[in-house]
Symmetry: C2
Subunit: 329 residues, 2 copies
Amino acid sequence: MTAPDPIPPTIAWVDGCVRMIDQRRLPGELAFVDAKTVDELCDAIRTLAVRGAPALGVAGAMGMALAQVTGADPDGAAAQILGTRPTAVNLAWGVGRGRAAADAVAEAERLAADDVARNRRLGAHGAPLVPEGGRVLTHCNAGALACAGYGTALGVIRAAAEQGRRPSVWVDETRPVLQGARLTAWELDRLGIPATLVADVMAGSLMSGGEVDCVVVGADRIARNGDVANKVGTYSLAVLARHHGIPFYVAAPLATVDLDCPTGADIPIERRAADEVASIEGHAIAPPGFTVENRAFDVTPAELVTAIVTEAGVLEPPYTESIGSATAG
Amino acid sequence: MTAPDPIPPTIAWVDGCVRMIDQRRLPGELAFVDAKTVDELCDAIRTLAVRGAPALGVAGAMGMALAQVTGADPDGAAAQILGTRPTAVNLAWGVGRGRAAADAVAEAERLAADDVARNRRLGAHGAPLVPEGGRVLTHCNAGALACAGYGTALGVIRAAAEQGRRPSVWVDETRPVLQGARLTAWELDRLGIPATLVADVMAGSLMSGGEVDCVVVGADRIARNGDVANKVGTYSLAVLARHHGIPFYVAAPLATVDLDCPTGADIPIERRAADEVASIEGHAIAPPGFTVENRAFDVTPAELVTAIVTEAGVLEPPYTESIGSATAG
């Protein structure tokens, strides 16, 4: 018998509404937020109550289910949901799937269940990449909270732990929204996987000290050539990993690949509000009105990516070919 | 006639005590803290009311002046001051200078005045390295607030502005203590130099986008071979700058060179409290009791440093020779 998952579902259809772990309130409190309308769901997406590319895929489908159940105009609902966040391609994928279904609720629930099963396959494929006792550095949160459950990058680490490989994790805090400190640390704590929190700026010191065996991150969108858009800061880690000869792995479901994007230059990068950087918990950390540039994502070129771990297996360069074969199936 | 400096002295001897800008309260409030005893000064150093290698040099001398004025045991006072922070070599230098002086107050005041004059010379030497309209990225605070006045890395930028080169600045926020967001942004705002605040993780995106013309940082200690200890995150910037072919400059007075350190491996790296990372303004951002690694500094190897800007001129590789000549003088 399997022990119950220590992390409840990130997003689920419950009693006619979309119930989500309210990620704005972690790690202080495990609370839930319910969206009963498309408006409420869009607000939850925009304010990062729910975030993470695979979770946004499910959220997109559940949004179309809400539209169907509440009798909202499907064109308007789809446009509204797609307008919330531009970078994760999964959102559009989920909206499309929910929209095309006769029973959008059933389809959304199926996507959520599929996501967990897919992440378990992805994790099993990726686990052997983590050396015995390996010290894995990760950025942002590509865990259960970024998906319907189990996780992608954290799924690889979790599967490695389940296979007895005894990984430990360096958790980048991930400014400005602190998804590493708030969410990844919370998940690893619940899972009992040894982990240490560091400020993002410490990655170089860890790598030059020989304290990192591999980097594993998620992805918000992958271009056809293997260029990867992910949380801002990912690219710096990839450059550092290359400089130190450390493998750099991306873990993401194939739905993250956007065949309409030939390269990373075609991926739109979301800019978010200045306030996300200039204040923390309502407290100003910069002079009033100071100019801020706040890009939520950056693009890591394919040549810095050692491998891409998917539910279909571990894809290796050249990615145009390996991605092409995997997505043709 | 010169306009008054928009930034008051960081540290000065006033009415028998050491008056410092209280950097813990910036950018919200320009307030001062007075130390009347060695204990009070050590507390100000430890809690970062005063920080920055050149300012710590002056603080060391002023601490010995306090010891002399209050009749404290000089051995005990010196040991106490040196125990506050291990990485900046300037602290030991200042303590030594104050201790050797018959009139420690006069010596400390002279060091403070010398520091400002030295930084102006350093700035004038470094300014031509900033291209016309150059976009300069800096990390932490190596400005007037890190010195008795004027600044080292920011002194270079300030001198470039004074010479009509119209620089603009990317300000790294500099987690965990946010010296960039809180102090560098405040200084540039006061100086009227155009600047934009970014999370540390955005440096890679800026460099890959061709938006950075050079990096200028300060130093807490420089080894004889040119290896540089500076605020954690500096090393990552140096690796990124090299990857993108962007010049990486270190600006520091010659007193920052520690001839007793053959290489960076000999420089002690201060570890600070977990709480500095795990909470912000008293608000927990990680699960309670989560393990944290918090190194205050990292070491950038000499081969990644394009040049070291000092009051004696711009030193170029090989640093063993150029530093040797400059410090022999």
